[in-house]
Symmetry: C2
Subunit: 293 residues, 2 copies
């Protein structure tokens, strides 16, 4: 058994950036003390979810990579001897911003970064205004705890992204995310949405025979007109390579979660379910089209 | 609301081919009488699951398309004014056999066929011996009840197949299937497998915003040495376009299931979750490789 202890930080954010980062740092310290070797923060953990409106002033929240957050988290990764997956609002150049996941190695260096490739845009989630679609492609990031297939939020709905990561040797799929309920939806619709979100990510574990870690924020955040307010539904979870749930957090409170993953199960599962053997790449050409009409 | 009543025939098969077909016909009559307009049979419903050993004599089970089964089911489709999805062991030429789904139109004609594209092979499921991988590609079949994305069993583990069908306008994804438990696996492993099978198919509904119908056989079938015996787990189900379960059959008995599907929900769901808008086809090129190394 090749065991990896992973830590998930399901956090509630406030308008106070320093408070949010202090909360993340405290959580990382707690999980490292419990033995976590890989710790994953939620999407855009440094602030409230700010895409609830389109306001050019909000670009002030962005920072460079490397920059203050990677300096802080890199030093922490080195001090605690852990790998950290952070999620930042990246200022790449004036007028060019990304939603970027950064992996900090346990020696304090930046192991790699992934710029969110699939960008959503719907009422209250105006991400196409803030984030240029990533240009990193789907490349796992090599670390001391394995090759990490780091993706971000909306990517979780696209089987293509998970597949490309697994095909490049990703040993884990990791999704920092920020998703929640519109309080105007009824309880049945809310539950359908949450279950769909869990199910699609479990399916990436199944289709690719790899564990999946998903870390979502929690708590209610008010929108500017009220209408864009979101009840972030938490539910951060870890699934094994058959999609089996190893742990699933609650919907209504912050949690620092430690989960032990048996990485050797990937090989065992892929031997009984060898999907990679049987892909019909000779008939997949139209996947490169937007639609087949 | 655009409602479609679908019928699923979850059947236990015996060594008596005529008995099996009579059971299917009776089930189709019962479901048509209840108002079903589309009726789906399980994979290879005409016989026991015969791929439990590699025996050239078993090719005698195969038949041409058109042939006796399509004649019988075509006439029934016309008589009852229903569309039927059948699953046959096709003899295309001496030495060239396929695992083929055939759609019978309500006027008795063959609307189209789909030759299983992804062929499994593992102990007790020696399909690569019997079935040439399909050459139909992933093309929906146009019928009087809509464009049907008919796939077969092992295809269900491949998100690529579902995506290609949806991209070609499939309004439903349909999986005749034959999957079950090895009694030597413990109860936890058995349940992980069954849940994985449900989850991956629900995920195709979610990723593509279309309903999914899956029809699996049920019952215990003995293998030649005992070791290849399979407890087919039933669990035939229908999911809506958010992956929500509309009905799920039991694991241990035949069932003729009628389910009403609201087809108008596809458009509604795709408006709130417009994944087709955001696919990064400019970075999907490596999906056409077997592996990225």
């Amino acid at each position: 058994m090749t065991e990896l202890s992973v830590g998930l930080v399901q956090q509630a954010c406030t308008a106070d950036l320093e408070h949010n980062m202090a909360t993340s740092v405290a959580a990382i310290r707690e999980l490292a003390a419990q033995g976590a070797r890989l710790i994953v923060l939620q999407e855009l953990h440094r602030s409230e979810y700010f895409c609830k409106e389109e306001d050019p002033a909000i670009f002030d929240l962005a920072e460079t990579i490397p920059g203050p957050s990677t300096d802080c988290l890199g030093a922490l990764a080195k001090e605690l001897n852990v790998v950290i997956v952070a999620s930042l609002f990246e200022c790449r150049a004036p007028g060019l911003y990304h939603n970027t996941a950064v992996v900090l190695e346990s020696d304090g260096t930046i192991a790699g970064q992934y710029r969110k490739m699939h960008i959503p845009d719907d009422p209250g989630f105006y991400e196409k205004f803030y984030f240029a679609p990533g240009d990193t492609g789907f490349e796992p990031i090599t670390t001391s705890v394995g090759k990490l297939g780091v993706l971000v939020c909306w990517d979780q709905w696209f089987p293509e992204a998970a597949r490309l990561m697994a095909m490049a040797g990703a040993e884990l799929l990791i999704y920092p995310t920020a998703i929640g309920w519109d309080r105007e939806d009824d309880a049945e619709e809310q539950e359908r949405q949450r279950q769909a979100w869990v199910t699609i990510q479990r399916s990436h574990a199944i289709a690719n025979g790899v564990p999946v870690l998903s870390v979502n924020r929690v708590g209610y955040e008010e929108g500017p007109s009220g209408r864009e307010s979101v009840d972030f539904w938490g539910t951060s979870f870890v699934a094994g390579p058959q999609g089996e749930i190893l742990y699933c957090a609650g919907t209504d409170a912050p949690e620092n979660v430690l989960v032990k993953i048996d990485l050797s199960r990937t090989t065992a599962v892929r031997r009984i379910w060898p999907y990679l053997r049987d892909r019909r790449v000779d008939h997949y050409g139209d996947l490169l089209k937007l639609y087949r009409d």
